[in-house]
């Protein structure tokens, strides 16, 4: 893991540590908690999509498995939140293994369709298995999680907790991609046949990374349940899977930092737009909430049109281009 990534993590750590001192409003911290939860799921998805080159349009289902495992085991079985979260991880990994072995034999659109179908099926199960999931009525009174005897029931505490887990997730992710496995994955992404000819067990690598990314998603789901204290099938629908893929794509597929960037940006953007509407009211322009959706779509469109490598990749390119231009300008002047 290169010094740049260490520096990046250090900067993120300092930002996280300082944030609650500057932002003293639970609303903003709450939004950042959701950003952290999306980050976690996106890091896992980025490992799968950006490094192993496999698409998943069913990741919200793994978030759902984590959330429902946590919800069911704490509310109905009375287990501790940590045990329930661990059980969720094993359950997600197991499901990912069972789904992954046949699904990852597929390629491109077929893999996308298979994962999409998987996501839909799990959503239907969440709606229909009323005795376990509470059906559309959901599960409420999910307890808060405690760390060293401190209940994480305030926004500030949960903010630190969730971002600490993101940092741990990042650390694992970086270590993985800078290991033999990571290099193998990138070879796999470049060309599956070439990677195979070099002695990389492509099938096994793909399944391992799929399972790993499901674990990231499951943890994110468990944290969601402990933070909101209520779950129903709504947040784990196929549309959320699509949103996660969008986050990773907007941030930049081929860099873990891109996933972090995209997740934070797309979590904050709707809230920012909704504050925007208040500003329009101040200067007397009638602004309808429907416009938020339009502007949101427009921003995504512009990013994808002009920065197809995502924001993170795009910025890197832009800086390079700018440096080149400056150099040429300087040369021209001399």
């Amino acid at each position: 893991m290169g010094w740049k990534n260490y520096m990046g993590m250090l900067v993120l750590f300092l930002m996280v540590a300082a944030a609650p001192l500057i932002i003293r409003n639970d609303y903003y911290l709450g939004v950042l908690v959701f950003a952290a939860l999306n980050c976690l799921a996106c890091i896992g998805l980025c490992l799968l999509m950006g490094y192993a080159g496999q698409i998943s349009l069913g990741h919200a289902a793994f978030i759902g498995i984590g959330a429902y495992a946590s919800g069911y085991m704490t509310v109905r079985l009375g287990l501790s939140p940590w045990t329930a979260m661990a059980a969720g991880i094993f359950l997600s990994a197991g499901v990912a293994l069972i789904v992954g072995i046949p699904a990852l034999r597929l390629k491109g659109h077929y893999l996308a369709m298979a994962t999409l179908g998987f996501g839909s099926i799990l959503h239907i199960v969440a709606v229909a298995a009323i005795d376990i999931t509470g059906g559309p009525g959901g599960l409420n009174n999910i307890p808060a999680i405690s760390l060293f005897g401190i209940a994480l029931n305030t926004d500030t505490r949960f903010f630190y907790f969730s971002w600490a887990i993101v940092l741990i997730g990042l650390y694992f992710g970086f270590n993985l991609i800078h290991s033999r496995v990571g290099r193998g994955l990138r070879a796999l992404h470049g060309s599956e046949d070439a990677a195979g000819s070099l002695g990389i067990n492509t099938a096994s690598y793909k399944i391992q990374i799929f399972v790993l990314s499901s674990v990231y998603a499951s943890i994110s789901g468990s944290l969601y349940a402990y933070y909101i204290n209520y779950i129903d099938p709504g947040p784990f629908s196929v549309m959320h899977s699509v949103l996660l893929v969008t986050m990773v794509a907007v941030g930049g597929l081929h860099k873990i930092w891109g996933a972090v960037f995209g997740a934070v940006l797309l979590t904050l953007l709707p809230e920012f737009l909704s504050s925007f509407s208040e500003y329009f009211q101040v200067i007397g322009i009638e602004y309808k909430p429907d416009y938020d959706t339009l502007i949101y779509g427009l921003i995504l469109l512009i990013i994808m049109l002009f920065l197809p490598e995502g924001l993170f990749g795009g910025f890197g390119d832009a800086i390079h281009a700018l440096q080149g231009k400056m150099k040429r300008l300087r040369e021209a002047r001399e």
Partner: protein, 383 residues
């Protein structure tokens, strides 16, 4: 050039951050609203938003409440739990509202309950599920205006007993509304000695319920209750007609949208369902205590927005008037508003509210009127 652009950017960001401070006067009464204005439940949130904006303007044009202007902060939940949680936090922490109206859906309401309970801000939900206000000990700060599912079930069962119907089939949509109704139908059946001989469900996206209806027919049901709030419910009467099932069809108050009756076409004639009186205000007797309120709201809404009034807008109407009356009585202290709400009485669109510390809804089964469908219109059932 670049620097000036940067400066403009900084100024815009600063303005945005101070936005909410700029335009609400210190003396205004601040009330928050969270509705599903866009997204899959926009048919709930849209009329709710229009209604509260209309009433707030009316109140402010008449001089406000005790000389204070009523300032509404309206947030769009998009029918999404996470967005609703953020919206409620924003209203409480950033806009400093003294009470919140909404959310529109049961799921979003359940998701925000822990927040308002902790922040101690009264919330009046516009969603159906009874569990939003029950158990009342755990819902100190939570109220709701839509009628109770259980009262709807009771009205249906009472009508069945009158007609001598004993064995029934039930069919429900797999949404929060359908699921809650299905549970109440099963729980209350024993009380009225009614047998449920068939219990079927359909998903909101289904386009044909023939299979379920055949099962219900074969089980020997004497009547069918179709409990749902999604458009798919209009397919049930059509399928029944094709199957030549002539047993009485009952619907829930979720049928209370004229579009659903129109979608059912000729097959919809004769459907019986309990609903608030707003839908059939024209066929209501003049001495009904709600008639003046209902006509007033209906006429104002329909002239202003040029669309048919719906019960959902009515729930927001009732919620806002409950809050406005409480503000008038005790000012904008959240704790005092909560106490005032617990002893509020209001002749509203949903019924005659009589809230108490033990009942945060305040409606009973008389809030429902048995309605029937006649040529695509709702009228009060005569017998």
């Amino acid at each position: 050039m670049k620097k000036s652009l940067l400066m403009i950017g900084v100024v815009i960001v600063l303005l945005l951050m101070s936005g909410s401070v700029l335009f609400a006067g210190e003396k205004d009464y601040r009330v928050g609203c969270v509705f599903a204005i866009t997204g899959k439940a926009s048919w709930l949130g849209e009329p709710e938003m229009k209604t509260v904006e209309m009433i707030a303007r009316e109140i402010n044009e008449a001089g406000g409440i005790n000389g204070h202007k009523l300032k509404l902060f309206i947030e769009d939940s998009q029918g999404d739990n996470t967005r609703a949680v953020n919206a409620v936090k924003k209203l409480i922490k950033k806009n400093n509202v003294c009470a919140i109206i909404g959310p529109s859906r049961s799921g979003t309401s359940m998701a925000v309950i822990p927040i308002v309970q902790k922040a101690q801000i009264p919330l009046i939900s516009c969603a159906g599920a009874e569990v939003i206000v029950v158990p009342v000990e755990e819902r100190k700060w939570v109220f709701k205006t839509p009628q109770k599912d259980s009262d709807c079930v009771r009205r249906i069962y009472e009508h069945m007993i009158e007609k001598g119907i004993k064995d029934i089939g039930i069919i429900s949509g797999t949404t929060g509304f359908g699921n809650a109704g299905r549970k109440q139908l099963k729980d209350i059946a024993a009380e009225y000695k009614i047998n449920i001989v068939a219990d079927e469900t359909y998903s909101p996206a289904d386009t044909d319920m023939t299979a379920q209806l055949v099962k219900i027919k074969n089980a020997g049901a004497m009547a069918l209750v179709n409990w749902s709030i999604v458009p798919a419910q209009s397919i049930v009467p059509q399928n029944m007609k094709h199957l030549k099932m002539d047993i009485q069809l009952y619907q829930s108050h979720g049928f209370g949208n004229v579009k659903y009756a129109k979608a059912a076409g000729a097959a919809g004639n004769g459907i019986i369902f309990p609903a608030g009186r707003l839908l059939a205000v024209d066929s209501l007797p003049d001495d009904n205590p709600q008639k003046a309120v209902l006509l007033g709201y209906k006429n104002k809404y329909e002239t202003k927005f040029n669309e048919t009034v719906s019960t959902f807008g009515g729930h927001a109407y009732d919620s806002l008037w409950l809050v406005a009356n409480a503000l008038k009585a005790v000012g904008d202290n959240p704790e005092k508003i909560r106490e005032q709400l617990e002893k509020s009485e209001l002749v509203g669109t949903g019924g005659i509210f009589k809230l108490s510390p033990m009942d945060h809804n305040g409606l009973d089964k008389t809030a429902f009127e048995m309605l029937t469908v006649q040529d695509g219109k709702f009228v009060v059932l005569k017998d």
